[in-house]
């Protein structure tokens, strides 16, 4: 029964379509492995967060307006990337590229805020070498920031492809995976916001 079903699928004209959905499945598996990467960095941070070695602690370093702005900017960009997917399902290429541009700009604003936050902290003498707490902090938050930065490069490349080729099964899948990735980064940030920043200023 299952074999007959598989054979029927093989002769199906939508072979290409099945390839694309298989790639989306593969991307889900990548997200799970990325989740495990963040799990180990979170575990390291939680264990080391009290080990300040005479250096500054979280409540002395974290500035509430800064990380609250970062949180809302990333949350909004996750929403606008969702609106991009909706525009794609309606076949509206212009709206799709427009929402992706809004998403990328918000992502860039997020990265800008994070870089200025890191620069201020280093300026105050809180570097990655100051304490175990700060090593864990910069590794965890920096890895997330690197993911967002790479996401921006990837999203820009997809926008160029969309402008050239329009919505094809391939660009459709690429937009779908990049928005999935973007939502995932927002999910990781929820926990950074809670565990690192909120528990840091408590």
């Amino acid at each position: 029964m299952a074999q007959a079903h598989a054979a029927a699928h093989h002769d199906h004209p939508h072979d290409h379509h099945d390839q694309e959905s298989l790639k989306i499945m593969g991307f889900w598996i990548f997200l799970v492995t990325d989740c495990i990467l963040f799990a180990s960095l979170f575990a390291t941070y939680v264990v080391l967060r009290t080990h300040t070695a005479g250096g500054p602690a979280g409540h002395e370093l974290f500035e509430v307006p800064g990380f609250v702005a970062e949180t809302f900017i990333l949350l909004t960009s996750s929403y606008t990337s969702g609106l991009a997917t909706l525009a794609m399902h309606k076949g509206n290429t212009k709206a799709l590229i427009g929402w992706l541009i809004v998403t990328a700009l918000l992502g860039a604003a997020f990265i800008g805020l994070e870089i200025s936050e890191f620069a201020n902290m280093v300026h105050e003498g809180a570097t990655i070498a100051t304490s175990a707490f700060l090593s864990a902090f910069y590794t965890l938050v920096g890895t997330h920031g690197l993911h967002v930065s790479l996401g921006l490069v990837w999203m820009t490349a997809i926008m160029i492809q969309l402008a050239r080729r329009g919505i094809t099964p391939v660009t459709h899948r690429k937009v779908f995976t990049v928005t999935l990735y973007w939502h995932f980064l927002d999910v990781v940030w929820i926990f950074l916001f809670t565990v690192v920043y909120l528990m840091g200023v408590m």
């Binding site: 939508h14 379509h17 959905s21 989306i24 499945m25 889900w28 598996i29 997200l31 799970v32 492995t33 989740c35 495990i36 963040f38 799990a39 180990s40 979170f42 575990a43 390291t44 939680v46 264990v47 509430v64 609250v68 949180t71 809302f72 949350l75 909004t76 996750s78 929403y79 969702g82 609106l83 997917t85 909706l86 399902h89 779908f176 999935l180 939502h183 995932f184 927002d186 999910v187 929820i190 926990f191 916001f193 809670t194 565990v195 909120l198 528990m199 200023v201 408590m202």
Partner: protein
């Protein structure tokens, strides 16, 4: 095969977005106004984060929809189990280290 992908609607994205904003503001207010003592506060904000995680999973990433069998959900559950084991296990084991010193 018609529903091989997740669709959602403007409504579901907007509901998810508004719920996420609320679930961000509540822990922020709780922490900044010191409204609870330490342990209940930590439990409350982590509960809020997990709730927001679920909101985004359902309203943004649409894990309820999609092709069956949902291998992506199975992979996700495995990932959640591993994540929980790594984080909770590390915290638990290292708490003994704190006692020794």
């Amino acid at each position: 095969m018609a529903h091989h992908e997740t669709h959602g609607s403007t409504k579901s994205y907007t509901i998810g977005f508004l719920l996420s904003i609320v679930l961000t503001i509540i822990p922020l207010v709780l922490v900044l106004n010191h409204m609870l003592s330490r342990v209940p506060l930590i439990v409350a904000i982590i509960a809020m984060a997990i709730l927001q995680f679920l909101v985004q999973l359902f309203f943004f990433m649409h894990i309820r929809e999609g092709e069956k069998p949902r291998y992506n959900v199975m992979a996700l559950i495995l990932g959640a189990v591993i994540t929980f084991t790594i984080v909770a296990g590390s915290v638990w084991v290292m708490s003994f280290n704190e006692q020794v010193h």
